[in-house]
């Protein structure tokens, strides 16, 4: 019989196998696992443990990679329709003309060739949790021992009256990166000086809480530099937002008279858009902007809501230590699709949860308890190319719920000197290079 153990090792160098063995020995010590490895096997077939991961973004790609790193004897199949992934982080820099789309774009060669992940470019359409099978839109099915879903979000069309898929071709959301990002950037480039840009921000929960405000900041930077007579309004469905004091203090200094935030209590909440007339309607006001970026209400992407995994709420509840669904055993959900509060919906959280989930999946496949999770988040926002601010926290699991470790959470100081803002902007860029290497390389 062929040595299935090295099926994923095609093209690897011998020294890398030694590395894997050493790491595996280390993990054997960590997991009290005999070196031969013991997995639940079906009596009638020599089946290795199989994990299917749906979604190849910050959560799914990381999880697939880290399961393979922990144990190359586990077969991991990653289901992702896109052949290349465009990151939302730093897409705001593209909107401001500071980066290009290529700098946001990553492929799956690293996962396949360095880590032996099987990548299938298709869309998962159905889950059968009792048969442990996933159906794909290319007609095939994948059997799994454990399933990880990391599909991200989808827009709730119609939650803002008149905002459907057709409307997003006129008023882009660009809240999933790719063609929408390009469209919004083209609209900003085409806008004449003196135009009005409107960005609308939804109620929580939504992907990337500081995102709309970083976007407003960087677009304001672009306008100040290239179209200084223009105006930018943030129309907010909320009365407060994350890092609010930091953003507003910086805006007064950097973009006075250009950028204005309109809270819900001052009629900031958008209730309707009309693309025929180019109008954005709030509770009591209406605007005819040259460019409108509608960041709409959202929910977990469709596959995460399949088989009742979201309990009808639009987001999936999971067990804190393993990210296993509370609805169906054997199915784990990570990233934006989950309710993991107080962890925010961020790329950092998805990547972090992916590693916790990977360790849990490997332990559970070995019939062992999942290790204590190391949960944390750090989010950088650029108010200008050389002005960075951050929010960070460490979390722990208490009574199977995620809670902030007292004293470990906070934002950049309000009165930090300029050097700190410059440094945090440099750290933001370094973080991006490091996390994308952690996910895709």
């Amino acid at each position: 019989m062929a040595n299935l153990k090295h099926r994923g090792a095609v093209g690897r160098q011998p020294e890398r196998r030694v590395t894997e063995l050493t790491r595996r020995q280390f993990l054997a010590l960590a997991g009290s696992l005999p070196l031969t490895g013991v997995y639940a096997r079906r009596a009638w077939a020599q089946t290795l443990a199989r994990v299917v991961v749906v979604g190849g973004g910050f959560g799914g790609a990381t999880c697939a990679k880290y399961i393979r790193r922990a144990d190359p004897a586990i077969e991991v199949t990653l289901v992702e329709p896109r052949r290349q992934f465009v990151t939302c982080p730093f897409s705001n820099a593209v909107l401001a003309g500071l980066r290009d789309m290529a700098s946001l774009t990553y492929g799956y060669d690293g996962l396949q060739q360095r880590h032996g992940v099987r990548v299938v470019h298709a869309t998962a359409t159905e889950i059968d949790p009792s048969a442990r099978r996933v159906t794909l839109d290319n007609g095939s099915t994948l059997a799994y021992d454990r399933l990880v879903l990391s599909p991200g979000i989808e827009v709730r069309w119609g939650a803002i009256e008149g905002y459907d898929a057709a409307a997003s071709e006129v008023f882009p959301h660009a809240w999933l990166a790719g063609p929408q990002t390009v469209l919004l950037r083209q609209q900003l480039e085409a806008m004449a000086d003196g135009g009005l840009v409107v960005i609308t921000a939804p109620e929580e929960p939504f992907r990337c809480p500081p995102g709309p405000y970083e976007r407003a900041s960087l677009i304001a930077y672009y306008l100040k530099t290239h179209k200084p007579r223009s105006k930018l309004l943030i129309l907010d469905a909320k009365d407060t937002f994350t890092k609010q004091e930091l953003f507003r203090t910086a805006w007064v200094r950097l973009y006075p008279g250009l950028l204005e935030w309109v809270p819900r209590s001052q009629s900031g909440r958008v209730v309707r858009v009309d693309i025929r007339t180019g109008t954005v309607h709030t509770d009591f006001e209406e605007y005819k902007p040259a460019v409108a970026n509608i960041i709409p209400p959202q929910r977990a992407a469709a596959i995460a809501r399949a088989a009742g995994l979201d309990d009808g709420t639009g987001w999936c509840t999971v067990r804190a230590s393993t990210f296993e669904s509370v609805v169906h055993a054997g199915v784990h959900i990570i990233g934006d699709a989950t309710i993991a509060a107080p962890m925010p919906k961020s790329a950092f959280s998805a990547n972090n949860q992916a590693k916790v989930c990977a360790a849990a999946v490997v332990a559970l496949l070995r019939g062992q308890p999942a290790p204590a999770p190391a949960l944390m988040n750090t989010c950088y926002s650029l108010v200008a190319p050389d002005y960075g601010i951050s929010i960070a926290a460490v979390y722990q699991v208490v009574d199977d719920k995620i809670a902030i470790v007292q004293g470990s959470s906070g934002v950049s100081p309000l009165d930090a000197p300029n050097e700190t803002r410059v440094l945090e902007a440099e750290y933001a860029k370094s973080w991006y290079a490091n996390i994308t290497a952690d996910v895709f390389a």
Binding site: L29, A30, S32, V356, P371, A372, M376, S412
Partner: protein
């Protein structure tokens, strides 16, 4: 006849020790994986954030403890370090040292 208390204690400690070592190793790996998001895969960083893959274990421990009590000025690390206890700090420092022994 009951074994002397000393022997029972030693036996208990001997049984616990491998478990403790194993738990520390797993904890170290879990923390190091979390660190990778900012500090790079295996602690090798690109750009302004420091690499943490080549620090002496005692320097690694000292740095995190200094951040934790704000004896050392940082940006994010003062917050993150406050989420780690002494066992965590030793575990993650030890894990990075183990990676270097490849």
């Amino acid at each position: 006849m009951q074994p002397p208390l000393v022997l029972l204690v030693l036996l208990a400690a001997a049984l616990l020790l491998p478990g403790t070592a194993a738990a520390g190793a797993a904890r170290g790996a879990a923390l190091a994986n979390a660190c990778a998001a900012c500090h790079g895969p295996d602690g090798r960083s690109q750009g302004a954030i420091a690499s943490i893959d080549a620090l002496l274990t005692e320097d690694f421990v000292a740095a995190l403890k200094a951040f934790r009590v704000d004896a050392r000025k940082g940006t994010v690390m003062n917050r993150i370090a406050k989420g780690l206890d002494d066992a965590d700090i030793v575990a993650v420092a030890t894990y990075f040292a183990t990676l270097r022994r490849r």
